[in-house]
Symmetry: C2
């Protein structure tokens, strides 16, 4: 920290991303990436000719990509904004809809980035505790006057909120924006996208980092009314008009158009998740009901931090959050069947020695 | 604009980027792109194998790219931060070093984005008029208590500030950050990078969009003391930890390592600039002295807006800013020799008809 840091920046709460080791080969089950490569259409789209054209700016309106996303969801391009990952989109939303006296509410246990971004804009952040069983009850947000952010399914628990609950929340206070972060929705939760037609206060964010196998391309998007999207563009053009690079625009559109590949990847993850839950429960683990491409689980015998460290020693990276309420748990990304079998075998070894 | 827009967002001043037409072939001299493709090493680096690995997140620390940049400038990686274009880096700097009672000062005629970003963080912005001849005099910034931003060379004028002047400004008030935006420095201005060793209050920003032919890759960076860079990382990890995508990390490092290609591109631009200045002066144009890959020029016979429109009708895009003081001028990017010859011929036709 320098002596030049502003008090506003000193109050920030920077996010700590999961380990991205460069020096060693791990079975990487810690940052919820897909175990599958991107669609073959992405490989075609990012051609040598397109790399040669990198001397030209990308399209700031992201027209081609937004059109592909709109087609997929039965919307128009004016209902779509694309960002440099959904993190950027979320920041735009915090700036667009929150401010002095209009804070943001989100769960006490959820994606850590909401907290970081609320601090970035100096917002009042209300952390609403999940219930004892880690369920999110929408009535707990009924009286909050600012913007509500709900990750559905939630991270790191993996648990989903019924769309009927979110509809109730949207109708309860139509003067307030509800952001539903559907980063993991494609792995089994119900999407709120069909609610967009009736609810002008709903913003749905999604990402291509998980179900579209493009974490390294940094592509996220939001779907909402034309007016909400215009508000987000207002922030984008105050922050970074050329926010998505040329190759990611192409990769994203190609991935969005390959529905069959997308479905087969999601199906494989759901099957591997079912296999993994069964394997871990057999070994005495408790696993929260997951609709995501990860599970949140605790061993009856090893504390969370200990399990994380021992797995890492054995070459398997999972994520442990040393935080109240979830100290006993680790979050494990669902990878390929081979990776999950390796996990189960490693757990056997660890428990034999525990 | 929706009814949900916060008053803070309503006060934003979004930037209007130059036209990026998708529907027609223009000679594009309006957004200061390089006319040359990226280095052949970039084509090698963005391989099919790397596209296949897009399912993995990019390295949030940008270690490989930062190391390549540091080597090029004789610094260490701790003196470097990379962003999704230098626009993102500038936003990080505004958030890190400015705030309540600590605004930003910049020229009245300069890169329009400083204004947009100052508004993004609700900062007091002091616009310091350039002198009558469009020169920037550093003594005009002596008493400003906040952060000073100087584009060197300036846009859209192309005019450079001597490094000795900037050194004076750094020494005049060591309690204040001076940001020198060197987006265009490689085309003939003197860089402030050598001042970094002695001046902890200097932050230099650069981009790979111009001299490295990677506008579509969105790669900018800042160079500064380890402490200033740590401050910028504090903001980055509050906004978007994975801010540079995998392929741009590779492309940027490859471009940075090809010094010969870089030099030959910059040399060609300087030669084409000299040719263009001479050609336009012969045709009665006044051209400001440019150290950039563009020139700022006025015809004695056609108003700026008229020149812009007529060139566009003839298939040549340049940039016109309909703003006080510079209404008579257009900004013309220096492209390939063929492009500049086409410009000269088109000007001949327009003047014959004027």
């Amino acid at each position: 920290m320098s002596k030049f840091l502003s008090p506003e920046a000193a109050r920030l709460a920077p996010y700590t991303p999961g380990e991205q080791p460069r020096d060693q080969q791990y079975i990487k089950l810690n940052t919820n990436e897909s175990p599958f490569p991107p669609s073959p259409r992405v490989l075609e789209a990012v051609s040598r000719e397109e790399v040669e054209r990198l001397y030209l700016y990308s399209d700031p309106t992201c027209a081609g990509l937004n059109a592909a996303i709109a087609r997929r969801y039965g919307l128009t391009s004016e209902n779509v904004i694309t960002g440099n990952g959904s993190d950027e989109i979320l920041a735009f939303a915090f700036r667009a809809f929150c401010g002095e006296g209009k804070g943001a509410a989100f769960a006490d246990i959820t994606y850590g980035f909401y907290e970081a971004q609320a601090a970035l804009f100096g917002l009042e952040a209300r952390r609403v505790p999940l219930r004892e069983d880690f369920s999110l009850q929408v009535e707990d947000y009924r009286d909050f006057p600012g913007t509500v952010v709900i990750a559905n399914p939630n991270a790191p628990t993996g648990m989903a909120v019924p769309v009927s609950d979110i509809r109730w929340l949207l109708e309860e206070n139509p003067e307030r924006v509800v952001i539903v972060d559907e980063a993991y929705v494609d792995f089994g939760a119900e999407s709120c996208v069909p609610l967009l037609a009736e609810h002008g206060n709903l913003l749905v964010t999604q990402t291509m980092s998980k179900s579209r196998s493009l974490a390294g391309g940094r592509i996220g998007f939001a779907l909402g009314s034309r007016e909400l999207i215009a508000d987000l563009n207002r922030v984008k053009y105050s922050f970074n008009p050329y926010n998505v690079n040329r190759l990611s625009l192409l990769a994203g559109a190609a991935a969005m158009e390959d529905e069959n590949y997308f479905r087969s990847c999601c199906r494989a993850i759901r099957e591997n998740r079912a296999w993994t839950v069964e394997a871990l429960e057999k070994r005495g683990f408790a696993v929260l009901p997951s609709s995501a491409n990860f599970i949140f689980t605790k061993s009856g015998r090893l504390p969370g931090g200990e399990l994380y460290r021992r797995l890492k020693e054995q070459g398997i990276l999972v994520r442990w959050f040393g935080k109240d309420r979830i100290r006993d748990y680790v979050r494990i990304t669902i990878g390929s069947r081979e990776q999950m079998e390796a996990l189960a075998e490693t757990v056997d070894r660890l428990l034999a020695g525990a």
